[in-house]
Symmetry: C2
């Protein structure tokens, strides 16, 4: 029988009652003959509450101790989960990231998984036990220090374990029914997707769709592990993220993101090395630059605009001002009241008219576009923050995803 990895997020394990429901589902899968490996996040808002405690004793808590603190969260949920499964007559054992052999680099708070040893996991599975592993955490084998993986870390743990142990599927249980064509809170007729390709999901995740983080989709793609995103509150099939989809939609979905701010450097002398002078120090200070737009120059100068997470705006502004005065640019402007709207779809590649239709749709809705960035399967527009909802609605109505591309000759 095959191995199934099931990952349950914080809302799915927020209370003892919900943990018992998770246990029911795990036991059912076990009784159907599967080996089951469960990955859990911390209960409900535990992680936020622990961070608040940390800030109450130290406004700038040392990263090593913060990881020590936060890893207590999954330790609690994993042990409770194991107990709830045992209460149903099925043997279960919980392991921390360290015990499960999840080896990471040394970057506290943002560690990357390097390797999974997993001898104890393998042995427990061989003994017929359900194994519960703490998401979001690992250990740096050099220093023996406990690390956390940062945002989306529990999903990454689950997909990486699925890859390491050759699981048939990695099921990501969450509080929504799957991946939608747009945020259902904004668009009432948004539809759940049955399938989506890894590439499209990557673009959606990177564009603000919160249901699945890019890093777990990347691991799934690299190792060919199908990811089934579904609700922990019902038995409906969710969305399969997999190698390729039969349904070649022009547009799979529309994502939006209001967590970024825009920064513009005016009058940058248009000569080689200026962009490098700007973006090298940004990278060195960990500023996660998303969109970068540079127009052709006029009068030997150009404007460079970029978007960064709002949390990094002050750092980015400082760096930009230093670089601007060094290279003789005119000045730096920042704007936090922006939003990004993105269309994603593999079918877009062969439909050159999509971009034009996006711009026309937004223009007809009276929405001004401030920045544009595209990939082969994505078009992103920066608009005023207050226009985001109208833009998502207008685009969803115009494209009605998933529009299935007609097969040639069909």
């Amino acid at each position: 029988m095959g191995l199934v990895v099931q990952k349950y997020g914080g809302t799915s394990v927020a209370t003892p009652e919900r943990i018992s429901r998770v246990a029911e589902r795990v036991v059912q899968s076990r009784k159907e003959g599967n080996d089951v490996l469960v990955v859990v996040s911390a209960m409900g808002d535990t992680t936020d509450e622990l961070i608040a405690l940390a800030r109450a004793v130290n406004p700038n808590p040392p990263a090593r101790e913060l990881d020590m603190l936060l890893t207590a969260g999954e330790r609690i949920s994993m042990a409770l989960c194991a107990m709830a499964i045992e209460a149903r007559g099925v043997q279960a054992v919980s392991f921390t990231g360290s015990q499960a052999g999840i080896l990471t680099d040394a970057a506290h708070g943002a560690a990357k998984i390097r390797e999974i040893r997993g001898d104890r996991v393998r042995q427990a599975l061989a003994e017929g036990k359900v194994v519960i592993v703490a998401g979001f955490q690992g250990v740096d084998p050099q220093s023996k220090e406990v690390t956390t993986l940062g945002r989306g870390g529990s999903d990454a743990t689950a997909v990486a374990l699925a890859a390491a142990f050759g699981a048939e599927v990695c099921e990501i249980y969450t509080d929504v029914d799957g991946v939608y064509t747009a945020d259902p809170r904004l668009v009432s007729d948004a539809r759940k997707l049955d399938e989506i390709s890894f590439e499209e999901m990557l673009e959606l995740s990177a564009s603000g769709a919160g249901v699945l983080m890019s890093r777990s989709v990347e691991v799934g793609r690299r190792y060919g592990i199908p990811i089934h995103v579904r609700s922990s509150f019902n038995d409906h099939p969710g969305t399969w993220v997999k190698e390729s989809t039969m349904e070649q939609a022009i547009i799979s979905g529309i994502a939006h993101d209001v967590s970024e701010a825009k920064l513009t450097i005016r009058g940058v002398p248009d000569r080689p090395g200026v962009a490098a002078a700007l973006f090298e120090p940004m990278a060195a200070e960990g500023v996660n630059v998303d969109m970068i737009v540079q127009n052709v120059s006029t009068d030997g100068t150009t404007d460079i605009s970029l978007t960064v997470p709002k949390a990094s705006l002050e750092t980015a502004r400082r760096i930009a001002q230093e670089v601007a005065s060094r290279v003789g640019a005119r000045g730096v402007e920042v704007d936090a009241a922006i939003g990004k709207v993105s269309l994603v779809g593999a079918g877009m590649k062969s439909h050159p008219g999509v971009a034009a239709r996006v711009f026309r749709t937004l223009a007809d809705a009276g929405i001004n576009i401030e920045m544009i960035s595209t990939s082969t399967i994505r078009i992103s527009c920066v608009v005023r923050e207050e226009d985001v909802t109208a833009a998502v609605k207008a685009l969803h109505a115009a494209f009605e995803p998933p529009l299935v591309e007609e097969e040639v000759g069909a």
Copy 2:
């Protein structure tokens, strides 16, 4: 400079404000030139809350997972404590029981410390760091499983670490000012003791004085580590528990305990092997028998009475009934509405009149004595539970501890 071990209980670290106060105290000791090793319990009622969560998902949680769960409690408080110390400009690092090399046996929930390796602790202290260690927990080196030490475990951790690293003193910070001659909630003129011997403290702890558990006093006595029991809320000197005390009190204190129940087996045939038949299975099932009283026999039968923790009463009753029917005893009676009152004092050894005075004092107060048990430095009486307060008050008034024994020739 010497090493000081400071142990802070749950009430001392119940909130971020209190953790900050603990940090102040630790930093002060460090700045006075001491190496400081801190042992912390879980914050406030965390352990009880975690146990309640466990029971909500499994009425009979597996011991291995319960230990996994409960060890999250000290993980949280130790990390917060390290952060609060770092916030004051002093380097600090926290270690779990496992990381600190606290090796135990395999008894989940009631593990005993076998050995302390402590390489990481030693190195961190050598680097000038304050080291915070999670109390109450360790690791079984054979199975690599995390264990907890059971009741009083954090005190035991602190004294054992003090012994392992040759500390000058183990300071136990708590929510009272020290060890009292009787429970101040019952006796308004109870006095704080400045000093008490290990032996007397052992008897007081075993008789129900909750301020310090017997197991930590035993470790202190074995390795000669002075224990200073004091308040974390003020700077008053507390009570020193140490090798011998100058002050040879007849009575050091009066302890009481209402956590036990009484069990009596009537009409036990008075022949060799009966007591063994009763107490061997009790020990095998982990029933912690305290007092045992057997009268001289009449008509070839005798009554055996014993006290056990209320939590073990049902197990003890079942065993007693099995043994009673096997050996042909008349029957088994249980009584949970009892209390035990104990006088403790090293000076008692040379004062044969103390026991008589105890019995006279209780008789004058109209209190019936149901069982009596003595050691060389303790007299314990079982009375009705509702008579406990009156008994403690009467004895405290009669003996006014500490009554200092007159030195011969002084």
